[in-house]
């Protein structure tokens, strides 16, 4: 591991100011599960590592009287899983958190870190000077692209590896970012950017920005939500395709809802038209479900080895609908 010094910022603003230094490459150590991997493999070069673990006021799960839920960015994934209120009311979030990595990593990995983790592309993680590392080629395009995106790709074809992001976006969550001494709140779906906009980073975060909080607005009482994650191994793996769904049903008819996919695009994938078509869908009508799922994957543009993901996307929608009734 190569870095020049280890820093204990005493406050959020001190950490942000340190991070914003234009002449140095500084990184945050929250849980460190992604950071240490990147440092050990020499994927990033760091000047300073900033330890956030002692900033206690970023570690909380607060349930507001209004029904809102606020989660501090330093909350560990295990704390999400063990929270009884989340388990009871936000099944999609509980399921997503339960399927992240392994128990040992869930115990130290944080919510903020999960949302900001770097992609798992084998070329990005390997010894390749790929587009995302400042090179001029995306090796996945003509190479081993079994795990790459089928939606919104190009010029880089990563997928977003987060499980929490699709779950939180399906719940309409907001993320707070501490920037230039102020906190600003944005919808989580606008937090991620596509490679076509900027292929060197995955989120809107600029130098000096720190994710501080997730806010989930109050949900309808009869919310039905679930998260299905298809992986190559039964456990301890990233998603091939995952689907987060938060729905409100009237009998067997959907009156409100949102579907968000993980593992298929460089950012959590949702379709505005798809979510509109969701309203009024009858879950007893198999034909209607089939054509709805078909329409969802119409925009898929697979590479040479990942056409299976389009079929998986279609089937995962059907599976989720059959389980949620």
């Amino acid at each position: 591991m190569k870095f020049k010094s280890y820093v204990y910022p005493l406050s959020l603003s001190a950490a942000s100011a340190f991070l914003a230094n234009k002449n140095e490459l500084n990184f945050l150590n929250a849980g460190g599960t992604d950071l240490l991997g990147l440092l050990k493999e020499d994927i990033i070069k760091a000047d300073n590592i900033l330890n956030l673990k002692y900033l206690k006021d970023l570690k909380y799960i607060n349930q507001e009287p209004s029904g809102e839920l606020n989660i501090g960015a330093l909350t560990s994934i295990s704390e999400i899983i063990n929270n009884v209120f989340i388990k009871k009311n936000y099944n999609v979030l509980h399921q997503a958190a339960s399927q992240i990595a392994s128990p040992q990593l869930r115990n130290i990995g944080t919510v903020g870190g999960n949302l900001c983790q770097r992609p798992r592309c084998n070329y990005f993680r390997g010894d390749f000077n790929c587009l995302r590392k400042g090179g001029d080629t995306c090796f996945a395009f003509d190479g081993f692209n079994k795990y790459h995106c089928i939606m919104n790709g190009g010029p880089c074809f990563i997928v977003n590896p987060s499980d929490l992001a699709p779950a939180l976006i399906s719940l309409g969550a907001f993320v707070s970012v501490f920037s230039n001494g102020r906190e600003k709140e944005i919808p989580l779906q606008d937090f991620y950017i596509l490679p076509s906009a900027n292929y060197l980073k995955e989120t809107i975060l600029e130098k000096g920005d720190i994710v501080t909080k997730i806010r989930i607005p109050a949900q309808p009482r009869d919310l039905k939500s679930n998260y299905i994650k298809i992986k190559e191994r039964e456990t301890w793996d990233f998603a091939l395709v995952s689907l987060a769904a938060s729905l409100v049903l009237d009998g067997k008819k959907i009156t409100k809802g949102s579907l968000v996919f993980g593992g298929v695009a460089p950012a959590p994938y949702f379709s505005v038209k798809g979510n509109k078509d969701l309203i009024g869908l009858d879950l007893k009508n198999n034909k209607a479900i089939e054509s709805f799922a078909e329409a969802f994957v119409k925009d898929a543009n697979p590479l040479s080895m990942n056409g299976y993901k389009a079929i998986m996307m279609k089937n995962i929608i059907i599976k989720l609908f059959s389980e949620i009734i």
């Binding site: 460190g32 240490l36 392994s102």
Partner: protein
């Protein structure tokens, strides 16, 4: 050559031993090594040695580390506790599992700096405890291992599970043990060992 010869010459073994002690002594006695005191010490250069204080297997210990040392390196090299295995060294396999503040974590994937003031429990520390003894016997009786290299990590994960959940279901056991890989494929017997241990505890 006998080890304690009276000719006055040093044997190689004695020399190495003595040299090691001198180096360690010099480091321990050096007063310029700063403590991690968060209010005073804000930036620690990677070339500086730091005194790390933590509770290891019930005893307060302190040792000198570099900021880039992982907990695994400190346990194996500084504390000479080699029961915790260095296997993938990348937070993937579970061979280095230890328990920090009652939670199982990969010791290869956390900087030693981050455990200042915390309680660390290793495979060496649970041997004398009742639960550790029961789990060890269960692994032996139920044949929960083949080559045994992953076993310290498996035992630590089992210990962490039983610490928080006295009677886990098979599914809960599979989930709790899923971060520990066994290349021999002894998973079936490992699950059986944890069930056996939970019945005996």
């Amino acid at each position: 050559m006998p080890e304690n010869n009276s000719t006055g010459k040093f044997s190689r073994r004695k020399f190495v031993k003595g040299f090691g002690a001198t180096v360690a002594g010099a480091v321990v006695l050096n007063p310029s090594i700063p403590k991690i005191t968060k209010s005073l010490q804000k930036k620690i250069k990677i070339s500086e040695k730091i005194k790390l204080n933590f509770n290891l297997n019930g005893k307060n210990v302190s040792t000198d580390i570099y900021p880039y040392n992982t907990l695994l390196e400190v346990l194996r090299k500084n504390m000479r506790l080699t029961g915790t295995k260095k296997t993938c060294n990348n937070g993937e396999c579970g061979g280095c599992t230890v328990i920090i503040n009652k939670q199982a974590i990969y010791s290869c994937h956390i900087l030693a700096m981050d455990i200042e003031g915390k309680d660390v429990l290793t495979i060496e520390g649970i041997g004398d405890m009742h639960a550790g003894e029961v789990i060890r016997k269960a692994f032996k009786d139920m044949d929960g291992l083949q080559c045994g290299f992953c076993t310290p990590g498996q035992v630590m994960s089992a210990y962490a599970l039983l610490l928080n959940n006295k009677k886990p279901s098979l599914d809960e056991i599979k989930t709790a043990m899923s971060g520990n890989l066994c290349r021999c494929g002894a998973y079936h017997n490992i699950s059986a060992s944890v069930i056996e241990a939970s019945n005996k505890l």
